[in-house]
């Protein structure tokens, strides 16, 4: 393979790997901009992946699978919302509980239903999302460089990939240009200001938490219905946490979140590509070292290269009217 086709293959794989990160990152963005810290992204994606695979298996419809995934994720989001908003509980504890509950529950129910060690049966056909070919992709393939780039990196992904792009656009526009977005931005910085302006703090935060649930639902469904063909226990593999890192990296903004998630996806793709490859001077790099690359880079990037990332001021703080 020549350098170009390797690059294109890596980029293509980077796009695929960054999509669940992007969904989770946008989910975290909505939640945290409203003032609710969400470390339960991982758990919500996991239940969504399971519910999507189970529903798709039962109905042979990928779309019903997505619906089920979104429903399960929103249900978990509401639990987090109830604890964090209505009960003014500790948001970190609630998020950890969501993650543990999701990990345990999916394995338990999966084993009880399918007796395949927590897996769902493999999905195929209409139960999975198939790649869509963008118009003109085949015709463009002949054009040097740009052609394969369009045909392989941009085209031939599942509809959920384009959905993630659309979600980024919608998030950016909604936050910046709509009344709802202004209120969300305000409630994450100073809920008292929103309250005294006659707007319900709880309603805004619930709305944001539900949006986070929906986005995590798509992310989870993508894992089990598009990237893989079925559910595997623990298949989120820390993506919810990497998404949180990307969120900080992007300083809680939508388009930078897209960039950050693509960067992390690309790193992941490169690390897969490097397995078993002998590098000049270094020699054969151990698989474990390569797999650790994205995480190591996350630490390095977060430690020194992004400058001060200031979270929304009220994030993590339950809103209590002062006496």
């Amino acid at each position: 393979m020549d350098a170009l086709s390797i690059a294109i293959a890596v980029f293509d794989s980077g796009v695929r790997l960054s999509v669940p990160l992007l969904f989770a990152c946008l989910a975290g963005l909505w939640s945290e901009r409203s003032g609710v810290v969400d470390i339960g992204l991982e758990g919500k994606m996991l239940v969504a992946a399971f519910a999507a695979a189970a529903a798709a298996h039962a109905t042979h419809s990928a779309w019903i699978g997505v619906l089920a995934g979104v429903g399960a994720s929103v249900a978990f989001a509401l639990v987090h919302g109830f604890a964090a908003i209505s009960q003014r509980g500790n948001q970190i504890v609630s998020g950890v509980a969501i993650n543990m509950l999701a990990a345990g529950l999916t394995a338990l129910v999966g084993n009880a239903w399918y007796s395949q060690g927590g897996r769902t049966p493999p999905l195929d056909g209409a139960a999975r999302f198939q790649p869509v070919t963008l118009p003109g992709a085949e015709a463009a393939r002949g054009v040097p460089v740009i052609g394969p780039l369009y045909a392989d990196v941009l085209s031939s992904h599942t509809v959920l990939v384009y959905g993630a792009l659309l979600a980024t656009l919608l998030t950016a526009v909604a936050l910046k240009r709509t009344r709802f977005g202004l209120r969300i931005r305000a409630v994450g910085e100073n809920p008292a200001a929103v309250d005294t302006a006659g707007v319900s703090v709880a309603a805004l935060r619930y709305a944001a938490v539900i949006i986070a649930g929906v986005l995590c639902g798509f992310g989870g469904a993508y894992l089990s219905l598009a990237q893989a063909a079925g559910f595997l226990p623990g298949m989120t593999a820390g993506k919810g946490f990497i998404a949180l890192a990307a969120l900080i990296f992007a300083k809680w903004r939508a388009w930078p979140a897209l960039g950050a998630c693509f960067l992390f996806g690309l790193l992941d793709a490169i690390s897969i590509r490097l397995q078993g490859v002998s590098l000049p001077w270094v020699g054969l790099v151990p698989v474990q070292a390569i797999q650790a690359l994205p995480y190591a880079l996350t630490v390095v990037l977060l430690a020194g290269f992004i400058g001060r990332a200031i979270p929304p001021r009220a994030s993590g703080l339950p809103y209590v009217k002062e006496r």
Binding site: G181, L182, R183, E189, V199
Partner: protein
């Protein structure tokens, strides 16, 4: 006394059209007042309980349209609770709110806004990273898309700038604005929402005297336009200077409503406290001795490297009180903390009793042993531990002393007994050493801190904001204690944002602005205007 907006005077803009002549009030005969109800706001029999505390006990209040109505009372008298009920923050247990003569339920700020009530909170309700426009339209965006609302808000901002001189840059980020302008944003927020009644809670706490005068001129113009202003304050000077009528609250009850012209600060103070109060601190001439605290060219930098204290030199002699005046945030806090050993110093020297302090001595514990004691500005953050029992807060920093027990174990009995003795001496109420510190009122918490520090026999006492959030009765007590301490030969460095306190207590006044000393004055040879100019950084004319 400072000037009062006198009844006969024509205000800027010549819009005065009613008389506020006090004793014979003829406003009810004014034809303009019969057209619409003369009372903009009526509160009738308002009761509100928070658990044990009966914050409002059957409060009645009637506020005339187009007037500036002051509400005074000590901390905890129930003023803020009453206004929070009017603004829908709390719902009253019983009672009625009437707006323009008609009973209305006001159960949320949204309903208050709909009823034409706007509020400027003491702690601004602003979103700092957002622009002025975003802040003003928050909650009143006029549609799901922002662009339309933003255009309207800009037009309204321009109109307010034209009509009232309320100039604001619509694109400025609120977090970058000085406090005076932030307050302006709050006022504009209320006006843009069509408020007819404007409630201001302690609006001048953060302003320079000049800014406060500007605010008062604005309030007068608004009142002349027919808007109604309710001003909550504990500063009697402001009540006398600006209000038409004044209501006094004490312990949850409304004790009097008077025409301002027919009352005096002494009468109001008496009504607030329920007994006669000395507004001026009685003190003898100071007899200063040798310099006890000498600070030379002190520079203190913050974490970003900005000089918060920029070459300050001052000395405090035994038996005198030196007051540091200034608007909050001009380096006074950092100065105090640096002298107390809580902050590193970047340059300069500090000497105690003629002996320069080395780095090893500039440590809070060591300084205390040397006789430099400190009543910190923020008693809840640095002076006390709110969740501790009072007796534990009363020994903080001195827990190693013999009297609290020997060796590793503390002697509970001795601690409680000692705290009780301090509580007796400083009249801390209730005398309950085992009660949580947070349960005491601000004044009593402050007395606990003062007792702890003063009982150690200081040579130099640093005092920051000794009466912030403290009621008049306790202020009097604290002031008398500080004077007695001065007379006993202690050198006292007092930092306060209350000019009245500085002028009443100090034997010398230094004024800080931007980390530098902009002037030094004797309290009997200066006035508020003079100090205000120095506080605003207008350099010393005497130089």
């Amino acid at each position: 006394m400072t000037e009062r907006v006198s009844p006969g005077r024509t205000e800027p803009g010549g819009r005065r059209w009613y008389s506020i002549a006090a004793p014979t009030d003829q406003r009810d005969d004014d034809p303009r007042m019969t057209a619409t109800p003369a009372l903009a706001i009526e509160l009738v029999g308002i009761h509100k309980r928070f658990g044990e505390v009966h914050a409002n006990k059957g409060v009645d209040l009637a506020v005339r349209r187009g007037s500036i109505h002051g509400i005074v009372g000590e901390n905890g008298a129930g003023k803020s609770t009453l206004m929070s009920i009017l603004y829908g923050f709390y719902e009253a247990d019983s009672g009625e709110i009437r707006v323009n003569g008609a009973a209305r339920r006001v159960r949320s700020p949204g309903e208050a806004i709909a009823a034409g009530i706007g509020m400027v909170h003491q702690h601004f309700m602003l979103v700092e990273p957002l622009s002025v426009t975003d802040n003003v339209m928050l909650g009143a965006e006029g549609g799901p898309r922002l662009a339309h609302g933003a255009r309207q808000v800009r037009a309204k901002l321009a109109a307010l700038a034209r009509d009232y001189g309320l100039t604001l840059d619509p694109d400025a980020v609120v977090g970058d604005l000085p406090v005076g302008l932030r307050q302006r944003v709050e006022i504009v927020k209320a006006l843009v929402r069509g408020a007819d009644v404007l409630v201001l809670d302690e609006p001048t706490a953060v302003l320079t005297p000049e800014e406060a005068d500007g605010l008062f001129r604005l309030l007068r113009i608004l009142a002349d336009e027919g808007k109604t202003v309710i001003l909550i304050t504990h500063k009697l000077r402001e009540i006398m200077a600006i209000t038409d009528r004044v209501s006094v609250m004490r312990r949850g009850e409304m004790v009097a409503t008077l025409d301002t012209a027919a009352t005096s600060p002494a009468q109001l103070a008496e009504l607030m406290v329920g007994r006669r109060v000395l507004l001026r601190v009685e003190k003898n001439e100071a007899r200063p001795g040798a310099p006890a605290l000498v600070v030379e060219n002190l520079v203190v930098r913050d974490a970003q490297g900005t000089a918060r204290v920029d070459g300050v030199s001052l000395q405090v002699r035994a038996g005198e009180i030196v007051g540091v005046a200034g608007i909050a945030g001009n380096g006074q806090s950092e100065l105090l903390e640096a002298i107390a050993g809580m902050r590193p110093i970047a340059a300069g020297s500090i000497a105690l009793d003629g002996a320069p302090l080395g780095a090893a001595e500039r440590d809070p514990a060591q300084l205390r042993r040397l006789g430099l004691l400190h009543v910190p500005e923020d008693r809840l953050r640095t002076g006390l531990v709110p969740s501790f029992e009072a007796c534990e807060s009363a020994m903080l920093g001195f827990q190693d002393e013999q009297r609290y027990g020997a060796g590793a174990l503390l002697d509970r009995g001795a601690i409680v007994a000692h705290t009780l003795a301090e509580m007796e001496a400083y009249d801390v109420r209730p005398r309950a050493p085992l009660l949580k510190t947070a349960k005491f009122s601000g004044g009593n918490q402050q007395k606990i801190v003062l007792a702890r520090e003063i009982e150690r026999g200081p040579k130099v006492l640093l005092v920051g904001q000794p009466t912030r959030g403290v009621d008049i009765g306790a202020i009097e007590f604290i002031h008398r204690r500080l004077i007695a301490l001065r007379d006993a030969g202690v050198a006292i460095l007092l930092v306060s944002v209350e000019l009245e306190e500085i002028t009443a207590l100090s034997d010398r006044i230094v004024v800080m602005c931007g980390g530098r000393i902009t002037g030094e004055r004797l309290p009997d040879r200066t006035d508020e205007r003079d100090l205000g100019l120095l506080m605003a950084g207008v350099s010393d004319r005497a130089a």
